[in-house]
């Protein structure tokens, strides 16, 4: 208890001293400084409001700039009353400019508030993304560690994922019924992780459909995705020794119009009556239209997406739904490759650490609110 009181007293002294130091440092009337964490070419100019603002007819401020070796200042901006900040986006990197701010009264000459100098420069590291960097390095290290552990032959347990367990059953059902399988990879382009995850699942599904010689229909929204998927399906057929069974037209481009795509896919469902529908990848407003049409045709439906807002629609209308990370776990789950399983384990451990950090963070934040300490600042995120 004695130690706690002492620590608290030290805290109080520290914050009192910080506050006094801050009060002693008088703020200059005009401050120019390089914009932090930017590409360069910009300077922030701030100033203290002029007492003239209270006068009637006050016109505002003008911001002036003078390059080195120049005699006169040139006006670069006129600012309305009440504003006290301007960003000069026309500054040349490395040139030490002088900035002058003048208040413009209703009558009489402008009143110079002050002069301040600054040079623009681009930064080589965005300090506002430090927390992201730390997070990425940590998660990467954990994942790589578990990948190498799995490579060494460690036994890794993966919980049962119903949606992925049902893949074989769904393909088998289509084969028995002699009907095609529809595979939709959503509206994402090839640079989206969820689309890539969807494509890797397609490779596994295509291997099965090639084995059973079940027709596969893959309508594509993005032409690049179409080309990659075509190659993947072709290779899957070649892998099981049935390259001739691959139908070149089974993977085809439809349109990049969202609802045009929906109309086309709905049409395929109604006309071809696929026994199984897969919806994997990035989906938007079309998710429910697709899934409800599929449900109406009586198809068994397996969906997977990382779009949180679309998950309820898929859960409602589909038989199985892979929620968020389960979509990414599919390759590991279906292949049981130790390397993939290792990455899954890495994800789980990262998640455990994040949950622990969240609990500690919440506790510190509560302490911060009650004691007025600066813990909250530790958890501030820098957007951009």
């Amino acid at each position: 208890m004695k130690n706690l009181t002492r620590a608290f007293t030290v805290f109080l002294f520290y914050f009192a001293a910080t506050a006094l130091t801050a009060a002693e440092e008088a703020e200059p009337p005009v401050t120019a400084r390089d914009v932090p964490n930017d590409a360069g070419g910009a300077v922030d100019i701030t100033w203290l409001a002029s007492p003239l603002e209270k006068e009637e007819g006050f016109q505002g401020y003008d911001v002036q700039r003078r390059a080195p070796g120049k005699e006169a200042f040139e006006t670069i901006a006129e600012i309305t009353p009440g504003e006290a900040v301007y960003q000069d986006k026309e500054a040349e990197d490395g040139v030490p400019y002088e900035y002058r701010v003048r208040a413009l009264p209703a009558e009489g000459p402008p009143v110079v508030l002050g002069v301040s100098g600054a040079a623009a420069s681009g930064q080589w590291f965005n300090t506002r993304r430090t927390n992201v960097l730390v997070g990425v390095i940590f998660v990467t290290t954990v994942i790589v560690f578990f990948i190498y552990r799995a490579k060494g032959g460690a036994e890794l347990f993966v919980r049962k994922i119903a949606g992925l367990e049902a893949v074989d059953e769904a393909i088998g059902r289509a084969t028995e019924m002699g009907k095609p399988i529809l595979y939709v990879t959503g509206l994402g382009d090839a640079s989206e992780i969820s689309t890539i995850a969807a494509m890797t699942i397609l490779a596994k599904v295509a291997t099965k459909t090639a084995e059973y010689e079940t027709p596969l229909i893959v309508p594509c929204y993005d032409p690049i995705v179409m080309m990659v998927e075509k190659e993947m399906v072709r290779e899957a057929y070649a892998e099981v020794g049935k390259p001739d069974a691959f139908d070149e037209d089974s993977v085809f481009y439809v349109t990049t119009s969202q609802f045009g795509y929906v109309a086309a896919v709905d049409g395929i469902m109604v006309r071809e009556r696929p026994a199984t529908n897969f919806y994997m990848g990035a989906f938007y407003a079309e998710s429910l239209i697709l899934a409800e049409t599929g449900a109406a045709t009586g198809a068994i439906q397996i969906a997977g997406t990382d779009r949180v807002t679309q998950l309820p629609f898929f859960i409602t209308a589909c038989d199985y739904t892979l929620m968020g990370e389960e979509l990414y776990a599919a390759t590991a789950y279906l292949s049981r490759d130790p390397l993939f399983l290792g990455s899954l384990k890495g994800q789980d451990w990262s998640k455990a650490v994040i949950i622990t950090a969240m609990v500690i963070g919440t506790a510190l934040l509560i302490v911060s609110v009650h004691l007025g300490t600066g813990f909250a600042k530790l958890f501030e995120t820098g957007a951009g």
């Binding site: 892998e239 990049t256 409602t316």
Partner: protein
């Protein structure tokens, strides 16, 4: 070499673009903008291949009189009309009153709006299926849904007009409770899923950059 080269390009570009994310300097921005330009160029060429695939598919359907081949004629006619009207007057084609824009404004947009409006009916049918209180979970879902739906529309005024006794209760309590459901239990679940998604995305990206995940090259793992 057929596999090694794409894997090497993927690794190098993956590392470069990851590092680029943390560098705000103009050289870094220049690299990023140029990458986006390259993406557009690649997309344009891929689009040509995509359209060719579409034309081939529908021509074959018509040629061999496959089932529903008449729809293929509609698709090909639409594609042809868009191309002809689009190229007819060059960049001017996208000005108001031009045939291309007339097609776009009076055919394509209404058709898209029609498809989108189907969502209202599908939401109703999906809600009907989901909100049947068969189990405890379904009952809880039903209650939460009713509270949120009523809390987000101005029902209180209707109750007041009908002079129902519980109008004050509806007015004061329901919107707040609906907000609470959305802001706390719902948000907690959403964030839980989003954390998993973020980690899954990092893991998948890492597997691709390191060449562990290779199915995108074709040919399985």
């Amino acid at each position: 070499m057929r596999r090694e080269l794409p894997l090497a390009i993927c690794f190098i570009m993956g590392v470069i673009m990851t590092v680029q994310f943390f560098i705000p300097h103009r050289y870094s921005q220049w690299l990023f903008e140029n990458m986006l330009r390259w993406l557009i160029i690649v997309f344009t060429f891929a689009l040509i291949l995509g359209i060719l695939s579409l034309i081939k598919l529908h021509i074959q359907k018509v040629q061999y009189r496959r089932r529903d081949w008449l729809y293929s004629i509609v698709a090909l006619t639409g594609l042809g009309l868009s191309l002809v009207t689009g190229f007819m007057k060059g960049p001017e084609s996208i000005s108001e009153g031009q045939p291309f824009m007339t097609l776009y404004n009076y055919v394509q947009i209404p058709m898209q709006a029609t498809m989108f409006s189907l969502l209202a009916f599908y939401i109703a049918s999906a809600a009907f299926r989901t909100f049947r209180a068969r189990t405890l979970e379904a009952t809880l879902l039903l209650i939460a849904a009713v509270v949120v739906m009523l809390g987000r529309v101005s029902f209180a005024a209707i109750f007041k007009d009908l002079s129902l006794g519980f109008s004050t209760w509806v007015e004061s309590w329901l919107p707040g409770f609906a907000e609470w459901v959305l802001d706390y239990p719902n948000m907690a679940a959403k964030r839980g899923i989003m954390i998993g998604i973020g980690l899954g995305a990092i893991s998948t990206a890492l597997k691709i950059i390191l060449g562990i995940e290779r199915s995108w090259l074709g040919g399985g793992d």
